[in-house]
């Protein structure tokens, strides 16, 4: 092919590419992205106390409520498993190596869920801000934006996150129409029932607990019942030395006031 024709075709191709690229870049549809990263120091920081003195061994009402309200699939194997809230042995939830934990601590498996950290490593690593911290402290998932890279799963020091390794719909026992299901390829986790909080309701697990073992409230309000509980008894956070500042606290001893 002679040089002039070659130059013309190259020029045409480059112009076409450049034009398409510029058009795509300049006409991006949708609202400008508000920074969803750092939460403003708002009036609310949602938190929870898990009162293990009231949590009955063998009871899973909160787990059932969460699973039902959020269309959590049941795969029956630990590989594909998706869980937002569940129970696990004390030594695994609080692996500090204490060989002589108290009887209260080992009375039964401990309830485990996303800690909605104030300094969340998962939010820090997400390349698309698909997981982000809301102004009220909840670490939320945007399933529309998640690319399924699972970086957040590697970053979470608590193992709170699950991935949809396959289509979940055939494995959902019964659908709740008020909440969508998810697709294969996105990460999910407890969202503190943000959709219920936005409607003025309490999280499903908190409401379902007949023993009132879950105290949910505003950590920023010194007068809240939650803060009162935290003052009145010794509480634990999971792996506090990592600097994540969890919003979920655990009590194994009764109040001391």
């Amino acid at each position: 092919m002679d040089a002039d024709r070659r130059k013309f075709l190259i020029g045409l191709g480059s112009a076409a590419l450049f034009g398409v690229g510029a058009a795509a870049g300049l006409t991006r549809v949708g609202a400008a992205e508000a920074p969803a990263g750092e939460a403003a120091q708002g009036a609310i920081r949602w938190g929870m106390l898990v009162d293990m003195t009231r949590c009955a061994e063998g009871c899973a009402d909160c787990i059932a409520a969460c699973n039902a309200k959020h269309n959590i699939p049941q795969f029956g194997n630990t590989k594909d498993e998706i869980k937002w809230i569940w129970k696990q042995d004390f030594a695994q939830v609080f692996p500090n190596g204490n060989p002589f934990p108290s009887a209260r601590q080992t009375a039964g498996p401990v309830l485990t869920l996303c800690n909605h950290c104030a300094n969340p490593p998962c939010v820090r690593v997400c390349p698309t801000q698909a997981t982000f911290k809301r102004a009220d402290g909840i670490v939320e998932m945007d399933f529309h934006r998640c690319i399924g890279c699972r970086f957040c799963m590697a970053a979470c020091p608590y193992g709170s996150r699950s991935f949809n390794w396959r289509d979940p719909r055939p494995f959902i026992p019964a659908f709740d129409p008020d909440y969508p299901t998810r697709e294969a390829g996105v990460v999910e986790k407890c969202n503190f029932c943000s959709e219920r909080l936005d409607r003025g309701q309490r999280p499903a697990c908190v409401e379902a607990c007949k023993a009132q073992a879950l105290v949910f409230g505003n950590l920023n309000d010194p007068g809240s019942e939650l803060r009162g509980q935290l003052r009145a008894r010794v509480t634990l956070q999971r792996k506090p030395e990592l600097g994540t500042q969890p919003s979920v606290f655990y009590a194994f001893e009764p109040r001391h006031d």
């Binding site: 949708g30 959590i72 569940w86 042995d89 529309h144 055939p170 494995f171 959902i172 659908f175």
Partner: protein, 153 residues
Amino acid sequence: MSNKAAVCIGLALFGGVATLPFWLPGARRPMPQPVLKAGLTECVESAEYMRANHMLLLDAWRNSVVREGNRRYVNAAGKPFEKSLERTCLDCHSNKAEFCDRCHQSVAVQPYCWNCHFAPGELRPAAAAMAGSPALRIAATGLSSPGGAADGR
């Protein structure tokens, strides 16, 4: 150039095939009209606006609801609505096949919203077909593994 004839014929053929939808008898069809429930008052915005922009509106809504927790929409006339596909839109546009799918299928658009969100009327048959075995229901209560200790794959 010696290929002139072949090139011209080729171009003419290509032009003909590319413009088929415009001149082939029977290829031109009117856009199907979506069917709405009778006796409805008004949509979130005007019909012309929605026809052109409902995709952008829904996209903006989902970003606003999920990322900002902002569920309140005020339309051009100042009337407030909840930003919800299921509760606001599908309340009136309740027959997905007759309203939504008609235009979408005609223009070969496949919104993937329905992979996750529930369309009205979809749920009852789907729930019956997909509702799991008793084993699944028990598993859903979280009581399937005593102690809950994960035991590896």
